[in-house]
């Protein structure tokens, strides 16, 4: 593990996988609007609709990353617009603390992103999505799985000690 792992061969045709949590009242509608407006943007995100960005448990983000996502995008309402008054502020606090933890865990900053995108901002959604895919493509796959470690010498020890 001392040497950096080579980017896997499959990187050739590799596409980043993004799990996106979008608030029901704004960003999800922005994605809807982008669709009905026939905007084109990167298709890399699997969108999960939540009632509020404040509903997003940091465990969701970790589970997504541990489960093979290369990045997580959270979309919520602008400050002042939250359907539930302050859910987005709560999301902001959790996100900023989560980000500190993930940075310490060696996960690059660009892999998790929080954006306030209103129901009218389909173009912002498109731009964020496209930019995030570009950034993830530059970073490569996340590869969080813990590698199997083997000690070839240990097998030989049986002979040594026999």
């Amino acid at each position: 593990m001392s040497e950096p792992m080579a980017v896997p061969q499959e990187a050739e045709g590799w596409e980043p996988r993004i799990v996106a949590f979008f608030c029901n009242w704004c960003t999800y509608l922005a994605a809807d609007l982008a669709g009905t407006s026939r905007m084109k943007y990167a298709p890399n995100a699997r969108v999960i609709r939540v009632m509020c960005s404040g509903r997003i448990d940091p465990q969701f983000v970790m589970q997504a990353l541990a489960g093979g996502a290369d990045g997580v995008l959270i979309g919520g309402c602008h400050f002042g617009d939250c359907h539930y008054q302050s859910g987005n502020h709560k999301a902001a606090r959790r996100f900023r603390l989560l980000k500190r933890v993930l940075l310490d865990m060696g996960i690059e900053e660009e892999r998790i992103r929080l954006e306030w995108i209103s129901a009218a901002e389909a173009d912002k959604l498109r731009d964020v999505m496209t930019e995030m895919v570009e950034q993830l493509q530059a970073l490569g796959p996340l590869q969080l799985e813990v590698p199997n470690e083997e000690f070839s010498e240990v097998g030989e020890l049986a002979e040594v000690t026999a």
């Binding site: 940091p58 970790m62 541990a66 709560k90 606090r93 959790r94 603390l97 933890v101 010498e153």
Partner: protein
């Protein structure tokens, strides 16, 4: 005569506190000894690995293994005891969730060896000798167990039947668990042998916990005079009670110190640190980004605080291996 159920104790990557915990049973240990035959306990009795290997598979009723799995030797012993025991019990935080040793998962073997054997100011090692699995010396081989990059909890190495949590498990928890195991009325496999509720629900200070907490920042225990009656969270201390399983008898709380989370999460939580992170971020009153960051600066070591005992069994398990800079 020797028809008593057989039990074994073993330690892996641990501090020895769990062995102390068994001795801390005090007079109760006599009841345990009266009820069982201890067939293997390296810290106290002179049985060898070969004695265990000679036993029939499944002939030990219960093996209590404490400590995380850091080396090839520990892994081998975990597999051996798994084979010989009907019931394998992860004993204490390290076997349960990785424990303190699992904080080593923020680094890797090379970084740890470098720090410990080369760069530590009190280390004298002019030849730069590092531990190696096989060393030839004067025509003989010296051997050491292999040291893994990643610390694992016991159930990440072999199947575990029950968990006794705690750093270290308290005498009551141990006695209750042993009673349960000896009664023959076994709970479902995978059970953590303590109540499945959060420590807050069991806390003597619960009544002083406000419905909605609103904190400007967090305090560390040495920074404040801690009131002995009031909820520690309400005093701004990072108490892990909301994300930690009950059963310890609120020992730390009664000692006027915040919970550090050694009993691990309840069964409803996947990632204790993630859950706690979520809870305390919600309690902050800051609304704007700059204020939030200023408030979060009052948590100097988020991973060491949220994952003090649970990094190995967390969702992410270790620092990402591809970007470790030694």
């Amino acid at each position: 005569m020797s028809e008593k159920p057989k039990v074994a104790f073993y330690w892996c990557s641990s501090c020895g506190g769990c062995e102390e915990a068994v001795v801390d049973l005090a007079e109760q240990i006599l009841d345990v000894v009266a009820a069982v035959d201890i067939v293997f306990w390296p810290v106290a009795l002179d049985f060898k690995k070969a004695d265990v290997e000679a036993m029939e598979d499944g002939s030990i009723l219960a093996a209590f293994v404490n400590g995380a799995i850091r080396t090839t030797e520990q892994e081998e012993m975990a597999h051996l005891l798994r084979r010989k025991a009907k019931v394998l019990v992860a004993f204490g935080s390290c076997a349960h969730m990785g424990g303190i040793p699992a904080l080593g998962n923020l680094w890797d073997r090379d970084a740890i060896f470098k720090a410990v054997y080369l760069e530590n100011p009190s280390t004298e090692n002019p030849e730069g000798t590092l531990p190696s699995v096989k060393t030839r010396l004067n025509g003989q081989y010296l051997t050491l167990p292999g040291f893994y990059d990643t610390v694992r909890a016991l159930d990440q190495v072999t199947t575990v039947d029950y968990y006794i949590p705690g750093c270290a498990p308290t005498p009551n928890v141990i006695a209750d668990a042993v009673q349960t195991l000896l009664s023959g009325d076994l709970p479902p496999v995978g059970t953590v042998l303590t109540p499945d509720i959060s420590l807050c629900e069991d806390c003597p200070r619960l009544e002083s916990k406000p419905q909605d907490l609103s904190l400007e920042s967090f305090k560390r225990p040495h920074e404040v005079l801690i009131d002995e009656e009031t909820c520690l969270l309400a005093q701004g201390l990072l108490c892990m009670g909301p994300a930690t399983r009950a059963g310890c008898g609120s020992l730390c709380i009664n000692g006027n110190m915040p919970c550090t989370g050694c009993f691990g999460p309840t069964s409803k939580v996947h990632d204790q640190g993630g859950k706690y992170l979520s809870a305390i971020a919600s309690m902050l009153s800051a609304l704007e980004d700059d204020d939030i960051d200023a408030a979060l600066d009052s948590i100097p070591d988020p991973i060491g605080t949220f994952y003090r005992y649970g990094l190995a069994s967390s969702l992410l398990r270790r620092r990402k291996t591809t970007s470790v800079d030694a």
